[in-house]
């Protein structure tokens, strides 16, 4: 595995007084009420909490998928909350890899092609692209299913492909939003184990949002959220 994933500069995440308000016609919804948190470089943090507490909102903001109403997020040396869309897109390409609950694979592409997609975005040439994608699929144990489209893969296999996609550009920061939400317990353990191994062995910083009570066994630190706030000091993980 080591030969296939190179070491990357580690980045930490600093979140300062983060506020997110969703404005609707009916009423304003305050999703985050001033989050302060710190994820040391090379550490994995789990974010837990009841449904609707703002976990996914927090992850979306750290991932550059959405914009905060107030506050700041620093990833490594980079402050991302004031960046333009073009810079955020570059941030998403080069710095962060996201694993989604519903996999978010492109249904028309094969597993191989899905993994190659981020590499195309940064201009990798075909031979190198294909090799890298193949290596990543081998890391997640799906090299034999490289030519299959997502609808031909099981949920667990799809999530593993999604993990390979997230790792394609060697991002120093890995985000996972309920990565095991659609999986059975066996597959969930497999995926979480894979995540843990990748994070620890390659020094990646990770934020994992989950309902899974076993999350503590896979991360260094657990943050608990309720109603848009961190409610307790970070709990030590396993």
């Amino acid at each position: 595995m080591d030969a296939k994933l190179r070491q990357h500069d580690r980045v930490g995440v600093e979140i300062c007084d983060l506020i997110k308000v969703y404005r609707t016609k009916v009423k304003d919804v305050i999703a985050l009420r001033g989050i302060d948190a710190s994820i040391p470089a090379g550490r994995a943090v789990g974010v837990v909490g009841p449904s609707g507490c703002g976990k996914t909102t927090l992850l979306n903001l750290v991932g550059g998928l959405d914009r905060c109403t107030a506050g700041s997020i620093r990833v490594g040396e980079r402050e991302i909350t004031r960046r333009g869309e073009k810079e955020l897109a570059r941030y998403r390409r080069e710095t962060v890899g996201i694993v989604f609950q519903f996999f978010n694979l492109v249904p028309l592409l094969t597993a191989q092609e899905n993994v190659e997609l981020p590499l195309r975005m940064v201009g990798w040439r075909a031979p190198e692209r294909e090799k890298k994608a193949g290596d990543l699929l081998e890391v997640v144990g799906l090299q034999s299913r490289a030519d299959h489209r997502p609808d031909a893969l099981s949920a667990g296999e799809q999530q593993r492909v999604a993990l390979a996609v997230a790792l394609a550009n060697d991002p120093p920061l890995l985000l996972a939003d309920e990565p095991t939400g659609e999986l059975d317990s066996v597959n969930a353990e497999a995926v979480m184990g894979l995540l843990r191994d990748i994070v620890h062995e390659h020094g990646k910083t990770a934020m994992i949002v989950s309902h899974d009570p076993r999350i503590g066994g896979y991360v260094d630190q657990v943050l608990r959220m309720v109603d848009g706030r961190l409610v307790s000091p970070p709990m030590a993980g396993n």
């Binding site: 998928l65 869309e85 998403r92 390409r93 996201i98 492109v106 028309l108 975005m121």
Partner: protein
């Protein structure tokens, strides 16, 4: 990312198919006017060229008839040459029966000396028959033969009166006569001037008064009749070229070059004989072949613009359909776009990728559209055009597509794809990433509907309509003001239906769901209580439903308008023909007595006959009729013509001493019904002049009356007053002082009889011109531009309907796909899956009905507006009548039927869906 775009485009080619279809249709529709014009050009050129009887005329003094003709015929590009010697002008000949004595049945004629082979080309000069004329025989046109009751084998006498001088001081008029046998009676077209083709080089008498003799009889007849024909005579050689090689209807310069080339060839061949050669021209238009293509080409500039402009509605509909398909496709890919954005694609990269797909689709659509335009042109020319009245003259064209046309089409299609796709792509690419990732269903659960906007659109539309009505009611503008007013009205009436449809459609489809619920009940007999699913299906995708309703309304409005307009124009053409001719046959002549009229009426093929006498008076021309005869004969008399009063007054004109002035007379004299008028008619002149005062009472005012126009137009702008002949006789006017056009006979023939028979009889019996209604009507309809215009409009109306059916069917298909899960659930609960197609039938039909309800009043308003505008900008023609033919309603029902069938077919896949698989995928 370009690679990614092309891969996904290929793999999702079915998704792109509808967009390609829409864009291909738009491309094909753009190409159709070009095809229409090509056909029109060919036909116009052919028509104009056909009126040119010969291509070249060589003239010179020679007795070498055969050698000279053979030399001319041997020139490159020439297919025939015939020599003719014509007796010189200024001589008077007479024809009469030998037994009837000198002076009886005398008619001035000319003699044309020809070869037997003249028969091959004589038809072009208006003569058909054999020219095999041994010595002592003549060929006589049917005019002369019919007039004098002559036939083949009969003898006629030719008389030449010549001033013969035995010495300088002693001259006397001498008669030279000879008897000849009629060898052939030549057929000439009815009421035609084709025989005057001979008059062109002759510069005198019409061809109907020409007799033909063999060239080898020239010397003998010259001697016997003392003909002043030179020796050698002035020989005229008519030369005919291969017109298929000579004329390129699309290239005036090339045609002129070819014509000049052949002329030089003929000239060179005959140069040593001293012949001069000139191009032939049409006696009707004066055009030569070298002029025809250029003249037609010049006239096409305006028509090109008009036809392209008239294609815009259909092009617009096809592009709207393309846009809808593209938008639907993008909606389905919103999650994919979110995924790309989440992986690091910025807005520009996503936009570029989607545009590459759109432009690729445009290129494919261009090629498909070109191929489709060839098919459409075949449909247009071979079916649509041929089925229109009077338009069968446009032949099936050979379609050729140049490289430049292909290049232009590809560029235009790509540009159209870009213009359609770009705003949609920008919007889709800019969507918030989290929103795009969350959206799994392509449903639009909310559309920002602003009632104020609907109200504003509707109000603007109504205002435009009211403004139009107000302006259209104004009259009296002249010249440039009238033109500007017409232009403004055209803009208003183009805007009004668009605004009204958009405004009302938005309210009906977005502002309330009552129409959906109401229309959903259409399928309640089959769906039972589940009819609410139909309304639900329409409501959950409000933008799509609204777009479909608007598309249906526009397409139906356009199609119904076209069909009705064609009927209105054709009805007006018939009305004009009926007004000008008055009956089945109209014959202007003189000398028709009461006895002649009685004899005519007694003919078994004549149903009725009436005579009109045109007389001068102090208040303009009087048209003297027998009111009851006229009313009985002219069955086309109806209230249309009457500005005041009604058709019933005509039959009783004598008993009421009535007078019916036309609008010009009524306006000039300020006449209304009930006004008394004293008409003064003067007979004679100078000391013998006698004034007759006729007192009449105005009983009606008319635009025109059938058959009573003095000019060749449907409306006579000179004051004319119709009175009964008995009223004039009662005032002492037994002898009528005729003025142009003199005396006119209007006939109705029996329904199964050929009117040409009695028309020919009239022309033979009296000197005059007979007009047959059917021929006249066909000549009005036989307008290549009109045929091209309506053929094009009909084709595009059909395309518009096709686009609508396709759009609704594809929307029904998409609706079925989107709701597969819930429909599977319903079926799993016990619903008969065969009835699922009825759900989509209900949705499609509801949209179709909404569109129809919007289209019907819009069409009627447009037709009314068209008629008002036409009356304003063309006040000098008969007003068009408001006609909505049955075909319009059939078209409407057919469209609704097509929508229903399309929706049912689109839903067929639901009947065979794999229930367990669908339920599993939906997490059940």
């Amino acid at each position: 990312m370009i690679g990614y775009s092309l891969i996904t485009l290929w793999r999702a080619r079915r998704r792109a198919a509808l967009v390609i279809v829409g864009l291909s249709l738009a491309v094909a529709i753009v190409a159709t006017p070009a095809v229409a014009l090509d056909s029109e050009i060919q036909t116009l050129v052919r028509q104009l060229v056909e009126s040119i009887p010969y291509d070249y005329l060589a003239q010179g003094f020679s007795s070498e008839y055969d050698n000279s003709s053979a030399t001319a015929a041997g020139a490159q590009g020439v297919i025939g040459a015939e020599p003719v010697v014509i007796s010189p002008p200024g001589l008077t000949f007479a024809v009469g029966r030998p037994t009837s004595g000198a002076g009886a049945n005398l008619t001035p004629i000319n003699i044309a000396f020809v070869r037997a082979s003249f028969a091959s080309f004589a038809g072009r000069l208006g003569f058909s028959g054999s020219f095999q004329l041994p010595l002592g025989t003549l060929a006589v046109p049917d005019r002369i033969a019919g007039r004098y009751g002559l036939g083949v084998g009969d003898q006629i006498q030719l008389l030449n009166v010549v001033n013969v001088c035995s010495s300088a001081a002693s001259c006397s008029m001498e008669n030279f006569t000879a008897n000849y046998t009629i060898g052939t009676v030549l057929t000439t077209p009815l009421a035609s001037n084709t025989a005057s083709h001979l008059a062109q080089p002759l510069s005198f008498v019409p061809g109907r008064d020409v007799v033909f003799a063999g060239l080898d009889a020239l010397d003998q007849m010259r001697t016997v009749l003392n003909l002043a024909i030179d020796n050698p005579p002035l020989l005229r050689i008519f030369v005919w070229a291969d017109r298929g090689q000579l004329i390129n209807p699309y290239d005036a310069a090339e045609t002129q070059a070819r014509v000049l080339h052949v002329e030089r060839e003929v000239t060179a061949g005959l140069a040593d004989r001293g012949f001069s050669v000139a191009e032939g021209s049409s006696p009707e238009t004066g055009l030569r072949i070298s002029d025809v293509v250029r003249v037609v080409d010049d006239s096409m500039v305006f028509q090109r613009g008009v036809l392209l402009l008239l294609s815009l509605p259909a092009i617009g509909l096809a592009l709207v359909f393309t846009r809808m398909s593209f938008e639907s496709g993008l909606a389905k890919r919103r999650h994919e776009i979110g995924t790309l954005r989440s992986r690091g694609s910025d807005v520009g990269m996503v936009t570029a990728g989607l545009l590459v797909e759109a432009l690729s689709i445009g290129a494919v659509a261009a090629l498909c559209g070109l191929a489709l335009s060839v098919v459409l042109s075949r449909v247009f020319l071979g079916f649509v055009n041929a089925s229109l009245p009077g338009s069968g003259s446009i032949p099936l064209n050979e379609i050729s597509v140049s490289l430049s046309a292909i290049a232009v089409t590809i560029i235009a299609a790509i540009l159209a794809a870009f213009l359609v796709a770009y705003p949609l792509v920008r919007r889709a690419s800019n969507i918030r990433v989290v929103l795009a990732l969350k959206v799994i269903s392509p449903f639009e659960t909310a559309v920002e509907y602003q009632e104020a906007r609907s109200f504003l659109l509707t109000a603007l539309g109504l205002s435009s309509l009211l403004l139009f009505a107000g302006l259209a009611g104004s009259s009296g503008q002249a010249g440039i003001l009238q033109f500007l007013l017409g232009a403004l009205l055209a803009v208003l009436i183009a805007l009004a239906p668009v605004l009204l449809i958009l405004g009302v459609a938005r309210y009906v489809t977005l502002g309330t769901d009552r129409p959906y619920r109401g229309l959903a009940r259409m399928v309640r007999p089959w769906l039972g209580q589940l009819d609410f699913l139909v309304a639900e299906g329409l409501r959950r995708n409000p933008r799509r439903s609204s777009n479909l309703a608007v598309l249906t309304a526009f397409a139906l409005t356009f199609a119904m308008f076209v069909v009705s307009l064609a009927a209105i124009v054709d009805a007006q053409t018939s009305r004009v023909a009926r007004t000008i001719v008055g009956g089945d046959v109209r014959f202007d002549s003189g000398g028709i007595t009461a006895g002649d009229l009685a004899n005519l009426s007694a003919r078994p093929d004549v149903r009725g006959a009436t005579v009109v006498d045109f007389i001068s008076s102090n208040y303009g021309v009087l048209a003297a009729i027998n009111g009851s005869d006229y009313a009985r004969t002219v069955t086309w008399l109806d209230s249309y013509y009457f500005e005041e009063g009604g058709p019933g007054v005509v039959a009783s004109l004598a008993s009421t001493n009535g007078a019916i002035p036309n609008a010009a007379a009524a306006s000039a004299l300020g006449l209304r019904i009930g006004d008394q008028l004293v008409l003064n008619v003067v007979i004679g002149g100078g000391r013998t002049a006698h004034l007759y005062a006729v007192i009449v009472k105005v009983v009606a005012v008319v635009m025109a009356l059938p058959g009573l126009q003095r000019s060749g137009d449907a409306i006579d702008f000179n004051p004319t007053i119709v009175v009964d002949r008995q009223t004039l006789e009662a005032s002492g006017l037994t002898e009528l002082p005729l003025t142009s056009p003199g005396e006119r006979l209007i006939l109705r023939t029996q329904s199964a009889e050929d009117p040409h028979v009695v028309a020919r009889y009239l022309e033979d019996r009296w000197s005059g011109t007979a007009i047959v209604y059917q021929d006249f009507l066909e000549s009005l309809r036989d307008d290549p531009f009109r045929a091209a215009l309506f053929g094009l409009l009909y084709t595009e109306a059909g395309l518009a309907v096709f686009v609508v059916i396709l759009a609704v069917a594809s929307a029904a298909y998409a609706s079925g796909v989107e709701r597969e899960g819930e429909l599977a659930t319903i079926v799993s609960r016990g619903f008969d899956r065969r009835r699922l197609t009825l759900l989509l039938l209900g949705e499609g039909s509801a949209v179709g009905v909404i569109g129809s309800v919007l289209a019907i009043p819009t069409t009627l308003v447009l037709l009314w507006a068209f008629l008002r505008t036409e009356a304003l900008i063309a006040p000098y023609s008969l007003p068009m009548e408001f006609v909505v033919p049955l075909t319009t309603w059939i078209l409407l029902l057919a469209t609704l039927g097509g929508i229903a069938i399309g929706s049912v077919l689109a839903g067929l896949r639901l009947r065979w869906m794999n229930l367990p698989k669908v339920l599993k995928l939906r997490g059940l």
